[in-house]
Symmetry: C3
Subunit: 327 residues, 3 copies
C-alpha cells in the first residue's frame, strides 16, 4: 500500500497535528504533516473563491514580513494571506533596513522579537539565515525562501496544485527541469514530492545538476526528452539571467532548444500538467502557447499560494492563540 | 436646455446607475454617470470631515495598488481611500516588481487576478497598459494614470472641486494651461468637463499642443493672456523637468513670463478658481502667492481626491458585494 | 524633595494631563507630563506581553508615517504601534516622494493635511522640519527624529527602560557616550533625563562634543573611564560611519580602545544598566559580550519603543476622539 497523502488530521496520533514551531523547510516534515497543511489550505481555497464573510482569526496578531531579498509575488501572497486572516501585517524591506548600516542578522532577529511579533515571515539571500533567526525568537518563523536552501510554501502550493488537478500525488511522475543546482524551489519540491510518494525526475544541464542528486535517490537526466517520457507533471524552473552571464548556459536560444517546454514536446504528453513557479521567461524555459494553454496550472499555482500561506499562518499561530489541541 | 450634471441617480433608467465594470478612463462615460460618481463622492467628503464612525463596507475585500510608476500623492490617496472603507489594501511597488525580471504585463495581471483581488488600482508609464490588464482580470480595475492616456480620478476630483466651489460645472469657462501634449490629466479633464458642458479652453506653447486639439472641438490658445479672458477656472499643469531638458521649453524663467499664473494675471480674474494637480513647481507655472491665496482650491483638490477614490472603489465593487440594484 | 517622576495623572491640576497638541520634542515638556506618558506606556507593555484581546481605540483613524529619511526600526515600531491600536496606517516613503520632484515641505504638509490624516509621524533629515509641518496641519504631529534636533520617543523609551529596571530615574547617574554633537538621541535624552532629575554625564571625543554642553548644566567628559565612575546607566551612542570618513574619529579600532564599552570597563560596574539605541556597531562602540550580557537592556528598549509609541498615538489623538477630560 502506498503511503496516503490524504490521511485526515483527526487520525494523527496525539492530536497535535502539526507539532513544529516553525516552518523553515520541508526537510523534517512527516508525510502526514505535509498532507495536513494541504488539507488546511484546501479550506481556504474555497473561502477565497466564495468571497464569504471574512474569517479574521488572526485579529490582533502582528505578522512581520522581513524580506531581505526582493520578491513581488511571494511578498504579495504572504501579505494578502495575513490580511485576509485579520492580522496586522507589517513589511520590512531590505532596502530600508538597518542591515545596510551593518547590523547583524541576529540583532535584526532580536529587534523583531522585542517588538512582540506573533509570526515572522523571512526571505533572505543566505541559506540557513531563516533557521538562524528562528532559533532566536519566541514566535513562529516561516521561511519565504532562503538562498539555495528551501522555499517550503512554494513546494506546498505546488503539491496542492498537483493533488487538486491529478487527484493525488502518490505515484505521479513529476519532471523538474532547469537550474536545479541553485534552486531552492527544486530542493523543497523534491523533498515534498518524494515524501508524498511521487516519482520525481530531475533534469538539468550537467553544469546545473547538483552532485548530490543521486544520494537523494534520484536519477539525474540531462536529456529533457528522455526525462519527459511518461511524465504526469512537468515543472519548469526559471532561468536566472545571472546563470547566462555566469557561463552556465550558452544562450537563451540554445537553452530553449534543449530544455524549453515547447508545444512540440508537450504534444507527446496530452495529459501532463504544466507548472512554473514564476516569473516566467517566455520563449526561454517555456513557450507562451504552453504557459497559456489548457494543460497549464500556472495561475492556479499562484492562487494555491495564498491558500497555503493562510493555512501555514493559521496553523503555526494556533498554539499562541490557545486553539484547542495545542496544549 | 443644457445637459444637467446633477441628475439624481434614481432618475437614471434601469437602476443600474454605473454599468461599467472598470474605470479605465473618462472616455466612454455618459454625463450622468460622471455626475453619479461625483454625487457619491460628495457623501464621503462629509464623512471624512466629520470623523464619524467608520463605514467599512469593503471589509474583507482585497485591493491591490499596482504602481509601476512612482507616485506619492495618488498612491497615498488610493491607499487611504481603501483603508477607510475597510479593505485589505496591498501595495505592489514597481521597484520590487517581477517586471524588473522581465515578466510581461499580462503575467503580472494574471498573477494579481489569481490572488483573488477584489479591485486592482493600476498606474503605469505606458498608455493603454491599464486597459490591457482590465481585459484579463475578473475584478474591477481602476486607472490611476497610464502614460499620456488618462487619469480619470484626477478629472473627477477636479470636477467635484469645481462643482462645489462654483455651484455647477455647466457653462463654466475652464482654462487648462501647460504641457497639454503629454498630459493625461489634461486629456481626462477635457473629456470630463466637456461632457459636463463646461466651456474648455486649452493653452500651451505650440510645441506642447496636441495636433488633434481642434478635432476635439476645442480652440487652441498659445497666448495665455488671451485664453484667460473671462475665465471662471484656471487649471495649471505641472511643468515636467524632462520637457525643459527635451528642448520643448526654453527656460523656467521664460515659461513663467509667458505661461505662469502670476498675481498680475490673476488680478484680472477676481472670481476665478485656481487649480493645480500637484506637485507644483512654485515660481514656474504658478507663483506661491497665487497657490496659497484665497482663490486657490489646490488643497481642496487633494481632499476631494480621497472622496472620489472612495466613491469609485465603492461603486465598482457593488456588483461583487451583491449591493441591490446590480443584478 | 526631589521632583517625583511618578506622580499619578489624576493629581495633575486641571485634568488636562497632556496639554500639548504635538510631540515635536522633549523640550517644553514638564516633568509630570513626561512621567504621564511613561505611565501610559506602562499599560501597553503589559497588553503587548499578554497578547490580550486587541484594544482598537484608534479604529477608523488615519495615521500617516511620512519618513523622509530611511529607518527600519523606528518606522516598524510606529507602524506596529498604530496597527495594534486599530488605526489605518499608511507609510509615505521618501524614495517614492514628490519631494524628489521638487515639491516643498510645506506643500507636502498641506497635502497630508488635506487627506484628513488624524495623526502624522514624521522623520526628516533637517532639524526643525517636523515643527514646520506641525505648524501647518490640523492634526497632531509626532517627531520620529529630525536632523540633529530631537527624537523624543527614543528618549521616552529609554526613560521607561531605566525606570522599570532601576525603579526610578531621579538620582540615577546616567553616562551618555559617543557622538553627542550630531546626536538627536543624545539631545532628547539629556532633556528628558535632566527633567526627571537624573544626574547626566556626557562623554565624547572633543571633536564630537557640543560647545553648548556646559550651558546645559552638564560637565563634559573626554575620558570615558573617568565618566564611568559610579555610573548606574551607560548609554552608548551609535558611531556613524560618516564620522569616520569625516575625520572626526581616527579609526574604529582606536575608538573602541578609548570609547568602547568593553567587558573590562563594565566589570567595574556590576550593577550598571547597558543601553544602546541601535543599530549597533558590535566591536566598535560596544562589544558583543556586553551587548548580549545580563546587564544589557537593549532588546527591552526596543520593546518599550512600541509601548511608548502606542501611548503617544493614543494620548495625542484623545482630543479628536472626544475622550473625556479633553474639553
Amino acid at each position: 500500500m502506498q503511503p496516503s497523502d490524504h490521511r485526515p488530521a483527526a487520525q494523527i496520533p496525539g492530536g497535535a497535528v502539526f507539532p513544529h514551531r516553525h516552518l523553515t523547510g520541508i526537510d523534517g516534515l512527516q508525510p502526514h504533516e505535509i498532507a495536513f497543511l494541504l488539507d488546511e489550505a484546501e479550506t481556504w481555497v474555497d473561502a477565497n473563491r466564495s468571497h464569504a464573510a471574512p474569517d479574521k482569526r488572526l485579529d490582533g496578531l502582528t505578522q512581520i514580513n522581513a524580506f531581505f531579498e526582493n520578491s513581488t509575488r511571494t511578498l504579495l501572497s504572504f501579505e494578502i494571506a495575513g490580511k485576509r486572516l485579520g492580522a496586522d501585517v507589517v513589511n520590512m524591506h531590505a532596502a530600508q533596513s538597518s542591515v545596510k548600516k551593518g547590523e547583524t542578522l541576529i540583532d535584526t532577529a532580536q529587534t523583531l522579537n522585542a517588538m512582540r511579533a506573533d509570526v515572522i515571515v523571512i526571505r533572505h539571500m543566505a541559506s540557513g539565515a531563516v533557521r538562524l533567526i528562528a532559533d532566536r525568537v519566541d514566535c513562529p518563523v516561516l521561511n519565504a525562501g532562503d538562498g539555495r536552501h528551501e522555499h517550503p510554501t512554494q513546494a506546498l502550493l505546488d503539491a496542492l496544485t498537483i493533488r487538486r488537478r491529478k487527484g493525488s500525488i502518490a505515484g505521479q511522475r513529476v519532471v523538474i527541469c532547469g537550474d536545479v543546482l541553485h534552486s531552492r524551489v527544486a530542493r523543497s519540491n523534491i523533498l515534498a514530492l518524494t515524501a508524498l510518494a511521487a516519482e520525481v525526475r530531475v533534469c538539468a544541464p550537467s553544469t546545473l545538476m547538483p552532485a548530490a542528486i543521486e544520494r537523494m535517490g534520484l536519477t539525474p537526466f540531462t536529456d529533457f526528452d528522455a526525462a519527459l517520457v511518461g511524465a504526469d507533471v512537468v515543472m519548469m524552473l526559471r532561468v536566472q539571467n545571472e546563470r547566462m552571464a555566469g557561463g552556465y548556459i550558452p544562450s537563451s536560444r540554445e537553452y530553449r532548444l534543449r530544455y524549453g517546454l515547447t508545444p512540440e514536446r508537450l504534444a507527446k504528453l496530452p495529459d501532463a500538467l504544466v507548472m512554473h513557479p514564476g516569473p516566467m521567461n517566455r520563449g526561454v524555459e517555456i513557450d507562451s502557447s504552453v504557459a497559456d494553454g489548457p494543460q497549464s496550472a500556472i495561475t492556479e499555482q499562484v492562487e494555491m499560494g495564498v491558500a497555503v500561506r493562510m493555512a501555514c499562518l493559521d496553523v503555526l499561530t494556533r498554539r499562541a492563540r490557545g486553539v484547542e489541541g495545542w496544549a
